[in-house]
């Protein structure tokens, strides 16, 4: 402001050159335009799912008019799906599986990461690399031999078979990022604890776990979202509806009905997607920290 005032007062001495401000405004405008377009496209499918879930079957079937708006909003699809014993079973299975897998994963990862980050031993470096490599093994590479192995243990069509194999999806990454978080704790902290008289277990429980809590939360969120969203293993190993978790349950059982109850399917899918979305909404920073940690930590 003062610059322009000076401009006016002293003609001839200063003159305005360039257009920095206009350039900045243009850049800002492009940025917001791109973000708005992206946000509309990114939010459209969940929005359409929501719209569909609020429609009556009649309205869905009626082909006239804009499908993106609801004329007579109703919650009947949600009531129907909540009262559907099949869906309740899926939900319960997902909760049991995820709870077990998260617990097992965190215990395995924290113990191993503490050992790998702090207590050097023969082969520890190799093991840390191995952990990262197993993280890069996709589930679709090994699901067939695992199908045979799980079958051999008699755990096909059982949620416990899934609890057994899900750690392959969660443990490597969680261990990897926990190694990173533990390694970032200054060495002096252990030394201070050693001098203060802490034993190794005390050091882990009273120093490392509390100090690395943000990392543990990030890893827990990762383990939760991955086991909640797992699809290949349940699709391969579970064919009886009563043992299915939500993902495959919603996709295979609800869709299978001859008359496509789209409202109910969308209501079910949205409800199944809700837990990770809620966690994301409340713990976004931890979620993102966990997401970006893989390439930057460890």
């Amino acid at each position: 402001m003062s610059a322009t005032a000076a401009n006016r007062d002293l003609p001839g001495i200063y003159h305005k050159a360039g257009s920095l401000r206009a350039e900045r405004r243009w850049a800002m405008w492009t940025a917001y335009a791109s973000l708005i377009v992206a946000a509309v496209i990114f939010m459209a499918p969940p929005f359409y799912m929501l719209v569909t879930s609020l429609k009556t079957s009649g309205e869905i079937a009626g082909m006239a008019g804009n499908p993106w708006i609801v004329r007579e909003p109703t919650l009947e699809n949600y009531w129907a799906i909540i009262e559907n014993p099949l869906f309740r079973g899926f939900m319960l299975n997902s909760i049991i599986i995820t709870a077990c897998v998260v617990a097992v994963t965190m215990v395995i990862s924290i113990l191993a990461a503490f050992a790998l980050a702090r207590m050097r031993f023969w082969g520890s470096q190799m093991l840390a690399t191995g952990v990262f490599l197993t993280y890069l093994v996709p589930d679709t590479l090994l699901f067939i031999p695992l199908y045979q192995i799980v079958g051999g243990l008699g755990l096909l069509n059982s949620i416990w078979g899934l609890v057994l194999v899900y750690p392959t999806l969660t443990v490597p990454f969680c261990t990897w990022i926990m190694i990173g978080y533990f390694a970032s704790i200054p060495k002096e902290l252990d030394e201070a604890a050693l001098i203060d008289g802490a034993t190794w277990p005390q050091m882990l429980l009273k120093i490392f776990i509390p100090v690395a809590l943000p990392g543990i939360i990030a890893a827990t969120i990762f383990a939760f979202t991955v086991s909640w969203a797992a699809f290949v293993y349940p699709t391969a190993f579970v064919t009886t509806p009563d043992q299915m978790p939500l993902t495959i349950g919603v996709v295979s059982q609800l869709v299978r009905a001859d008359t496509f109850a789209w409202g109910q399917i969308m209501a079910g899918a949205l409800m199944a997607a809700l837990p990770p979305v809620i966690i994301y909404a409340f713990l976004m920073d931890y979620y993102i920290a966990g997401l970006t940690a893989g390439a930057t930590k460890g």
């Binding site: 946000a39 969940p46 804009n66 045979q148 699709t235 899918a269 390439a295």
Partner: protein, 313 residues
């Protein structure tokens, strides 16, 4: 104080007896404890990854009823079948196109996010990451409904601008495009977040120095941003290549391989052959065809990550 003293004296007494270096013993015991602590992890890696991998190789060399060892027969049969080559083509086409689009869109959005004021970034970032957060199988279900031949809401939008109806999942090329669209929709936010984190780690002073040296915004991107991000870009791209190449969820929900098996990727075809048709050895062989490609990508990801850690030290 008194307690400490007595402990010290007792330990000293023990030592004067044996004179073995107990600190060394302490260190040795420590590595034993460390090894025990990693045992569960080792069990997961060996029991659920390494053993299945070897077992998978063995399985792929059996005959259909798994009674006879047939060597590379399954692989030979696959190589001679036309469907397999369709699968091969579709997998490569899908992975490369989708990853390129994800990387470009992700980079663009990260850049745009980086431009807007910091206090507003959080809100936008939160919104733009939603596709990544929803379990892919479930969001793909939503897309499937949007692609529905008679009720397609996308076609309705297109009809506003007088575009004729698109047979999204009915024609194999449109189906391939649809699969890529869904994958890009799910994966672009991930790239955006990774690139945004990388952009934020470039020190502001570098840009300022470059600006004073006379660099235009394009030159700043070319000579400052890209070189600083090269490593994270390659790690993300390679990692995404692995995941996309091995993707199953989208194909399974959207097309289930159809029409006429033309949209199968390795994963869905392996599922089809191995689990649904019950030819486990051949299914295992289909899966294992992914291995060389994945191994090459994994090697470079690992190299990138190691390099990155060294840089940060």
């Amino acid at each position: 104080m008194a307690a400490d003293g007595t402990i010290a004296v007792r330990d000293a007494a023990e030592i004067t007896g044996g004179r073995a270096n107990s600190l060394q013993r302490f260190a040795r015991r420590r590595s034993t404890i460390a090894f025990v602590m990693t045992l569960p992890l080792l069990a997961v890696i060996v029991g659920l990854v390494a053993y299945p991998a070897l077992f998978g190789i063995y399985l792929s060399m059996l005959n259909r009823r798994m009674t006879e060892f047939v060597g590379f027969l399954n692989y030979e049969i696959l190589i001679e079948s036309e469907t397999f080559w369709n699968v091969f083509f579709q997998s490569c086409f899908f992975a490369i196109t989708a990853v390129l689009l994800k990387a470009l869109i992700g980079f663009w959005l990260a850049h745009m996010l980086h431009h807007i004021p910091n206090n507003k970034q959080r809100k936008w970032r939160g919104m733009l990451l939603v596709p990544w957060v929803i379990p892919p199988a479930l969001s793909t279900l939503g897309w499937w409904w949007m692609f529905d031949p008679s009720y397609s809401s996308i076609n309705w939008l297109l009809s506003i601008v007088s575009v004729p109806e698109v047979p999204w999942l009915g024609h194999h090329w449109w189906a391939r495009i649809a699969i890529i669209m869904v994958n890009v929709w799910i994966g672009a936010p991930f790239f955006m977040i990774m690139y945004l984190a990388a952009l934020k780690s470039v020190p502001e002073q570098l840009y300022e120095a470059a600006a004073i040296d006379g660099a235009t915004s394009w030159q700043r991107l070319r000579y400052v941003t890209l070189p600083m991000m090269a490593n994270i870009i390659s790690i993300t791209v390679l990692f995404s290549l692995i995941v996309t190449f091995a993707n199953y969820d989208i194909v399974r929900v959207l097309t289930n391989g159809g029409p006429r098996d033309l949209t199968h990727v390795f994963a869905s075809y392996a599922f089809q052959v191995g689990i649904l048709s019950g030819n486990i050895p051949r299914g295992a062989a289909v899966s294992l065809f992914m291995l060389p490609f994945l191994a090459v990508c994994a090697f470079f990801v690992l190299r990138g990550v190691v390099r990155r850690n060294k840089e940060q030290m």
